[in-house]
Point group: C2
Chain length 193, copies 2
DNA sequence: TGTATCCGATACAGCTCTGTATCGGAAGGG
DNA sequence: CCCTTCCGATACAGAGCTGTATCGGATACA
């Protein structure tokens, strides 16, 4: 992928077309800009990753008995892809400039959360944990995922970073769940008073 | 700043020079690439922000009595700067491609953590909280900061996102601190067994 | 004051990318 | 079988950027 090699910003229509094996004429008759092309690619890949993950998590049997194992199990299936991170991060930064793109990004995140949370809740239920407020846990997971991904990719040989990442996820999930069959009101998630 | 307007990747030496009011000749006799220039800028700005924050946090009197107030107090002084985020995110993504740049980035983060943690620990001490393991809390704070910043900037009008950000920080700090004068071993931070 | 050094402005030659306009050919509908 | 429509390849003209090489002037130092 040209975007990964050159960076999204430094990629040109020419390069993309050359590497993909079609002409600039073909490009311009299908897309109006690289933004549009990339959004299409992202859309596709995003759905792939999501259904892959969902499939992995619902396969029989998920060999997890503790919350920590559940977290590790999920993380083992979330690819920490250098190239992909690089491109999406850059595009996200780029999208901040454009209100329309911002909205697209916000919707994408929402859709991902909506699609994934049920699966995660089901998995957590299997280790005896009930999510208190999925609408709060979702964004937090995304934030922690994004924030720790950079750290892991910047120090790819540092196992401690990966470890801290897992710890952080465990902490987060623990705080946002209760023992199954427990009344919510007993341990409310830490929220602004 | 050209980098913010055009994106780092789409910025050219020509544009940068024109806007900064010097010629390309001047640029090439001081830097070998835009990478080099941007690193210099970042270095400078990073130190500024750090000392500004430290100054703000040690000013008399910091009117905080609870952990949550302390978190809010700190966050009120951490600028959520659209343009700056955009550029640094893009550059970080770019840096992932280059081992040398990766090392520079890792060191920068380390330096920021080292410079800031003592101040934060002092502030937390004033609300009766002792940090268990600064070396674990630091990276987690950075990750959460980065991860939630995007979310806030993508939905700048959504107060709930900001709220969740604060909640997440509170959760994190709570888990990584104990009541002052308490023995560490009573409530170890959730770490990989 | 003369000389050495350095910095930065200008010029140069060449390359790459852009977006559109034109044109041929394939697919589909009547 | 013809006509229309659409897609994509090619051509075109223009614009912008790159990095270097050259040269003038300022500063420093003796």
């Amino acid at each position: 992928m040209v975007f990964a090699r050159e960076g999204f910003g430094r990629s040109t229509v020419e390069q993309v077309c050359e590497q993909a094996g079609f002409t600039r004429g073909a490009f311009y008759s299908n897309f109006t800009s690289l933004d549009e092309l990339f959004l299409a690619i992202w859309e596709q890949r995003s759905e792939e990753m999501q259904s892959d993950l969902a499939a992995f998590l619902t396969q029989e049997p998920p060999p997890v008995t503790s919350l920590r194992e559940a977290v590790e199990h999920v993380l083992s299936a979330v690819p920490l892809d250098d190239e992909w991170y690089r491109v999406t991060a850059e595009f996200t930064a780029h999208a901040l400039r454009n209100p329309a793109l911002r909205r697209v990004m916000a919707q994408r995140e929402e859709r991902i959360e909506a699609g994934l949370m049920p699966t995660l809740e089901a998995l957590l239920a299997r280790v005896g944990r009930r999510v208190i407020d999925p609408a709060a846990l979702g964004p937090a997971l995304v934030a922690v995922h994004d924030g720790t991904s950079v750290q892991c990719l910047i120090e790819p040989d540092n196992a401690a970073v990966l470890q801290r990442r897992t710890d952080l996820f465990v902490l987060l999930v623990t705080a946002h769940t209760v023992e199954a069959d427990t009344d919510v009101t007993h341990t409310p998630p830490e929220e602004t008073p």
